[in-house]
């Protein structure tokens, strides 16, 4: 049966069809929907872990226990999970283990565009790289077989374009048999990585990767498509689609497995085409390996040969590809002769940007308004609240990776920075990797003020459950982690939980704490305004004729409040206007208005009665 599935849905489908019955991971764009889809299949256990490393350990544990298992994350998640990734590459498994890394070329929603194919080479495990949803499903199934055949975890490397493109997929309506529970292995030589055992395992995994390279020669998802012999293209992943689109007459060596490579297949292909190029996104990962085999690639006439350390030739190393980019760079290299107009029709108008911003009613806004007013350095973190960097709030000074806020603020404090630092972190990010950093602040008693913005959900990735929400991924009721108790248990004595919309209390508390010594934690608590229960409570506020256009309410950066076309007669300034279809009634604007010119919800209701 053919169904339209996104790449992510297809991975979930493939895992289920392959008899995978355990999955763990951490949400992260563009990977999130894999786990959300998998969790809905029958006969499976799926969970959100607090972070990727914990999730991978869980999937490894299940694979040791004899169940096919899955672990999903975005590309930077694999940095967090790297410790587990490397030991499981050494130990191997009892049942198939597939680790999905969803890379984000062009950084649609990420802090970098690292190419995680490199991780497979680093750890000596095979890497599959699908080009569409059918391949995402097929490669996932193939990955489980490969994993068990060679006693290795397999890296399934996805990219945003494959994750979030829907294409037709032929699916099989049945799940493979999930094996019965086996006796847990007692095999310390293989599974206890003390140095003596690890030294024995290292040659095993080097031999394994050589065997897999040999296997790659006949792996069905590596294939040669001979068409014209003038141009031969070695490609993998989504770049295959651009190769077919732009070069319909070229011969193509399509690599489903991008590590390790089939050397004989490549050298044979090279012999049969006149000009050979590699077309791939991001790093010259295939290109460097092909050159290392001694295979000669096409060298554009009159162009200096690419040399160490910048070894990528012809196509850009930055960003995702598309047919226009491929045509343009192929044209510059003398490979694409058709006439093309690279100058797209110019629009002479200067268009206003539409940057993402904190939503109307966002409970993070009040803290950022106060921080912006206090003008103190703020070390930020990864989540919706990173948008606190945008003007007019402009209240974040650093943001690097998950959990970095508290550690970086601590670093400034121990370096003797004379300004008091505030670390800002969301609930899910705090559970992910903020806790050890907060323990460090408490243990070493640094002057860091931490604000944990607890909006009761993992927001940025689209409302996933987390240890604070009281629900699991599969919608089971569970504990709701008490952040205040946890913070106290970490050794922080000065802790205050406030309602996130209490602007004055937040300001007063921060001003007091800034004068005092030692660590402090404020928990600002209020559910995300986009949660269904919150949406039911929206009451749009109104601006009264007391407004004189003083602009204070514009400083909160709320999309629902803007300058109207009516001018104040005395000051000739535009008066504020509230867009009733956007306003949720959070009352931050009403609280900051110095003239009480914005009605609170109670006043709006009283008026309408």
């Amino acid at each position: 049966m053919r169904r339209l599935l996104s790449g992510n849905e297809a991975v979930a489908r493939g895992a289920w069809e392959a008899g995978c019955s355990v999955a763990s991971g951490y949400p992260g764009t563009p990977s999130t929907e894999i786990m959300e889809t998998f969790a809905l299949y029958p006969n499976v256990y799926a969970e959100w872990a607090p972070n990727e490393k914990v999730g991978l350990d869980a999937a490894i544990g299940a694979a040791y226990a004899g169940k096919r298992s899955l672990c999903t994350m975005k590309h930077v998640g694999l940095n967090v999970a790297a410790d587990a990734f490397f030991y499981v590459a050494m130990t191997g498994i009892e049942a198939g283990l597939v680790i999905v890394s969803a890379d984000d070329p062009s950084m649609h929603s990420s802090q970098n565009e690292q190419d995680n194919r490199q991780f497979a080479k680093f750890a000596r495990i095979p890497c599959l790289d699908p080009a569409d949803s059918q391949e995402a499903r097929d490669f996932t199934i193939a990955a489980y077989d490969l994993s068990e055949q060679f006693d290795t975890p397999v890296l399934l490397r996805m990219t945003t374009r494959v994750c979030h493109t829907s294409t037709a997929v032929e699916v099989f309506e049945q799940q493979a048999t999930v094996p019965d529970q086996k006796k847990y292995p007692r095999n310390p030589l293989k599974y206890v990585m003390i140095p003596a055992n690890a030294r024995r395992r290292h040659p095993v995994i080097e031999a394994r990767i050589a065997d897999i390279s040999e296997f790659a020669e006949t792996f069905i998802h590596n294939r040669v498509e001979y068409r014209g012999k003038d141009l031969g293209i070695i490609t993998g992943g989504v770049a295959y689609q651009y190769a077919r689109e732009v070069f319909p007459d070229a011969s193509i060596l399509k690599l489903g497995m991008v590590y390790p490579l089939p050397k004989k297949m490549i050298t044979e292909f090279a012999k049969n085409v006149k000009n050979l190029i590699v077309l791939e996104e991001l790093d010259p990962f295939i290109e460097d390996q092909v050159r290392a085999m001694g295979v000669k690639l096409y060298q554009p006439a009159g162009k200096a040969e690419q040399s160490y350390p910048l070894t990528k030739s012809i196509f850009p190393i930055f960003g995702e590809l598309n047919p226009a980019i491929v045509r343009q760079f192929a044209n510059e290299a003398g490979l694409y002769a058709a006439e093309i107009d690279f100058e797209t029709a110019p629009i002479s108008l200067e268009l206003p940007a539409r940057p993402p911003s904190l939503c109307p009613g966002c409970p993070h806004r009040s803290s950022f308004y106060v921080l912006s007013k206090l003008k103190i350095p703020v070390n930020g973190d990864i989540g919706c609240y990173t948008l606190g960097v945008a003007p007019p709030l402009s209240a974040i000074d650093t943001c690097g990776c998950m959990g970095a806020s508290i550690g970086v603020a601590h670093g400034a404090a121990i370096a003797g920075d004379p300004e008091r630092h505030v670390a800002v972190v969301g609930d899910s990010t705090f559970f992910h990797s903020g806790i050890p950093a907060l323990i460090n602040v408490a243990y070493n008693q640094s002057n860091v003020i931490t604000i944990i913005m607890d909006n009761r959900v993992t927001g940025m990735t689209g409302h996933q459950e987390n240890p604070g929400t009281g629900k699991t991924l599969q919608n089971e009721a569970t504990i709701s982690l008490d952040i205040e108790q946890l913070v106290k248990a970490c050794g922080i004595e000065k802790v205050l939980t406030v309602e996130a919309f209490e602007v004055d209390l937040i300001e007063k508390t921060l001003r007091t704490w800034m004068k005092e010594e030692g660590p402090a934690v404020m928990i600002t608590r209020e559910p995300c305004a986009l949660l269904p229960e919150q949406r039911k409570r929206y009451i749009p506020l109104e601006v009264t004729d007391q407004c004189n256009g003083c602009t204070v309410c514009f400083r909160i950066g709320c999309p629902a409040i803007s300058k109207s076309e009516i001018l104040d007669p005395k000051y000739n300034r535009p008066l504020a206007i509230i867009n009733a279809s956007l306003c949720t009634g959070c009352e931050i604007c009403a609280q900051v208005c110095p003239r009480d010119a914005i009605l609170f919800k109670s006043q709006v209701l009283a008026k309408s009665n």
Partner: protein
């Protein structure tokens, strides 16, 4: 081969480029188009970027139909239909359209925060019309928002626009509508049918 003589379109692969603002139902509309293509027996690709869309940013979706479709992304200057759920976003992605491709726009503006904060100016209708006319004479403006308001639910504006597209492509309502009906809550199927019909009639 796709052929729309009145629109001057004759193509092996048909490219729909959809743009809008988070919350306008752009994704639902592109899902409908993708499933419709599959139902009509074509190879289909639908590409979109998730992530920031809920936070007031632009939403973009590429839908391609053909015997065999490779690239999930429509190259600049190759969209046969640019379907804009908001005027500024339509203008922003005008360079996606082929010369004399179809520009179908919801005559509705959502002011971005850069404009509401007074740091930028929203382009006038006249500017938008002049810019689009430089690219194509196939311009269709439909006041989907007002039609949806008349029907009593602003949320169906996206379905009005889909109806207009159906009208432009001279397709059968009974082929298109069941897919929409399968994607909206049961209780709102009827209002969506009215919205779709109003869109068809608007062309």
């Amino acid at each position: 081969m796709f052929s729309f003589p009145k629109l001057g379109i004759k193509r092996d692969v048909l490219n729909f480029f959809l743009v809008g603002v988070g919350g306008q139902g752009t994704i639902l509309a592109s899902n409908v188009l993708a499933e419709l293509g599959l139902k009509l027996g074509y190879d289909v690709k639908k590409a979109e970027i998730h992530g920031m869309s809920q936070r007031g940013g632009s939403v973009i979706s590429h839908v391609r139909w053909g015997e065999q479709v490779f690239s999930p992304i429509i190259a600049k200057g190759e969209a046969d239909f640019l379907i804009a759920f908001e005027k500024l976003e339509g203008l922003r992605f005008l360079d996606q359209i082929r010369p004399d491709g179809v520009f179908l726009v919801n005559d509705y503006q959502i002011v971005p925060v850069t404009v509401s904060s007074g740091n930028a100016i929203y382009p006038s209708d006249q500017d938008i019309r002049e810019s689009t006319h430089e690219i194509t004479s196939n311009n269709y403006w439909v006041d989907c928002r007002s039609i949806a308001e008349e029907l009593g639910n602003v949320k169906v504006a996206n379905v009005v626009l889909l109806g207009a597209l159906c009208g432009l492509m001279e397709a059968e309502l009974e082929t298109w509508f069941p897919i929409i009906a399968s994607k909206v809550p049961q209780k709102s199927v009827e209002i969506n049918r009215l919205a779709f019909q109003r869109g068809v009639d608007a062309i």
